[in-house]
Symmetry: C2
Subunit: 343 residues, 2 copies
DNA sequence: AAACAAAAATGGAACGTTCCAATTTTAATT
DNA sequence: AATTAAAATTGGAACGTTCCATTTTTGTTT
């Protein structure tokens, strides 16, 4: 802000004083003509400070360019407003969307969100979380990497640290958990396919290693089992575009008369639709395709994708409810909704 | 861990003691039989502590379950190991990829990375960064939101806070900046299209509001201008899938004889290819398509996309070089490479 | 105007670490 | 064994805030 035009005059070789001294509550107090305690009160928005004092302090803060020191505050008060959002894979479009929603909602709670990415690696997860503990974060919102141990998760929770797990359930853990209603979502979507009159339906994508796979497959089977005249198949695959392509080609080879496919998620569905397009099979009219997630791209595709929508805001809201201590329940299933488009 | 089975016996109403007392260096020192100063030395990996002392302290840490308190350390030492990575839009696949790479490299530097997302909103950016200042972060790695003021960015840089801007250049600012070589990338790609013998080439996607648009378009025009027999067109659009579709349809309408298109980025190219597929035009053999970014999906598409690759690791490395203080230069152009696939 | 209660303001201690100057221990040399 | 230098260790002060018990100010009632 201040330009030292006089620096040319004296001692050119002497480097400028590294940093005189940072501005503290004491300085603000002096300028405002009050005590440091009063400044502290104002900083924290206490009711106990008079309007007059508040004005003086606010003006002094402006004047001095004071910046609140959270390290000092956190140390003395032994409390932090940092919330760590630990994401399994930020390069996954749905994870990124969820991370952004979580960050926004945490911020609306008046807390500071810090995002970290584990790349689905437990080792990395352990390291990062250990470091975050040193920063005394107030809460962990964590989408656990595969092979996360229940005990580890359990011990993360302390008197001063809240833990909420999202999207994935670590079996054996009692940590509060927020999940989309995977089972009902796939159930509803599968029923919709059956209602179209389809009698040959496949579930495509994903595999046992993924914790939500079971729930989604269960929803599929439940729907199928209600209709004895409907036949079903299951084709596992990697949960990416390529996986969807491969699984769809296998499916067509094995069941050429297939009428529709329920996909593990949107990304797999993209692969499926791509493959179908190459075979000159029209998604929707020739073979029904439904995804899961409702990524932003899904409605923009050449054949807009029908899908089960997980509202990231709903998940974030549910997490924040728990952070606020409103919901002590340990498992919150967030409702999902079927979005029927052209596929 | 500990189950208070005895809680049924005594005083049901008395809630358990909130938290006895956290373990500090003093406790570790007492258990290890050394002074707190020695413990501090060991904690910071100092050479000055004897191996014997180190062993004793390490054992005591294990025994007591001590957790380093970074708030206290940061306050006393007036230095932090927190690096803030401020991303403009985490839901953009390339941004997410870059964020992950940056986080990884920052961590390899022995620093703690914290990721925040501004959703391309200057207001949000201002708020978040102000909050991060209160945490005394050591450095900001920032992809500036549109309309970021040069002065604001400039003032972010202080004696104790480094600032590096990435991907976007804020004009009027002297903050060190790491960019992909947009101009050369598009130039090289366009030359490759010309070498295929194409004489009718369009640049598709993006618009003036995006800072790197100029550089890419400049590369395009430079290549075109070297060949008087080649005609060119420019079609602006939103930088998403839908934008690509729209721009391509306009292009085909206006220039039915178009031979190839250079796209602003991969996402736009996806839209282009989707539209071409619908028109039964084969990307690559009928109309050449080149993207920019090299997203993971690009090589997996039904017609693998030719593109200019920006290696996220290269960007991250360049940023870290600056953080380490190795490169005082204010503008680092990271080389990009043309990846020729089928399109 | 005196008496009192409520509100506002205050100074010192404390949080857990690192820095520093001083002391103790160890090793090397005579 | 005495001397000296180097290495290792140490206790107290300091970082900038919040907490707490106390004091001062304000406002109300008698």
């Amino acid at each position: 802000m201040v330009n030292h035009t006089s620096s040319l005059n004296k001692s050119l070789k002497a480097s400028p004083q590294q940093d005189k001294k940072s501005v503290t509550v004491h300085d603000v107090a002096r300028v405002a003509g009050v005590s440091k305690s009063t400044v502290s009160l104002v900083l924290r928005g206490s009711e106990k400070a008079s309007t007059k004092a508040k004005d003086k302090v606010l003006k002094a803060i402006e004047e001095t360019g004071y910046v609140y020191n959270r390290d000092a505050a956190a140390m003395r008060s032994k409390s932090s407003d940092l919330v760590a959002i630990v994401i399994n894979d930020l390069t996954n479009p749905y994870s990124a969307k969820l991370a952004v929603a979580l960050e926004k909602h945490v911020r609306q709670l008046g807390l500071m969100a810090t995002l970290v990415n584990t790349s689905e690696d437990v080792e990395t997860q352990t390291q990062i979380v250990a470091k975050l503990k040193e920063y005394r974060v107030k809460a962990f919102i964590i989408c656990p990497a595969p092979n996360t141990e229940a005990q580890w998760l359990e011990e993360l929770q302390t008197m001063q640290t809240q833990v909420v797990s999202i999207m994935r359930q670590v079996s054996g853990s009692t940590i509060p958990c927020v999940l989309p209603d995977n089972e009902k979502g796939v159930y509803t979507a599968t029923k919709a396919l059956i209602k179209r009159g389809h009698k040959q339906i496949a579930f495509i994508g994903g595999d046992d290693a993924i914790s939500d796979y079971h729930q989604r497959l269960l929803g599929f089977n439940n729907a199928i089992n209600e209709h004895p005249d409907v036949s079903s198949w299951v084709f596992n695959s990697a949960t990416n575009r390529q996986g969807g392509r491969l699984a769809m080609s296998m499916c067509l080879e094995k069941v050429p008369s297939i009428e529709s496919v329920m996909c593990f998620n949107d990304i797999v569905a993209y692969g499926v639709m791509e493959y179908l397009a190459e075979q000159n099979i029209k998604p929707g009219s020739d073979i029904g395709v439904i995804g899961f997630d409702d990524l932003d791209d899904s409605k923009l595709m050449s054949v807009p994708l029908s899908t089960v929508k997980i509202d990231a805001d709903d998940i974030a809201k549910a997490v924040c409810e728990i952070l606020k201590g409103d919901k002590p329940e340990s498992l919150k299933q967030v409702p999902v909704s079927l979005i029927e488009r052209s596929s």
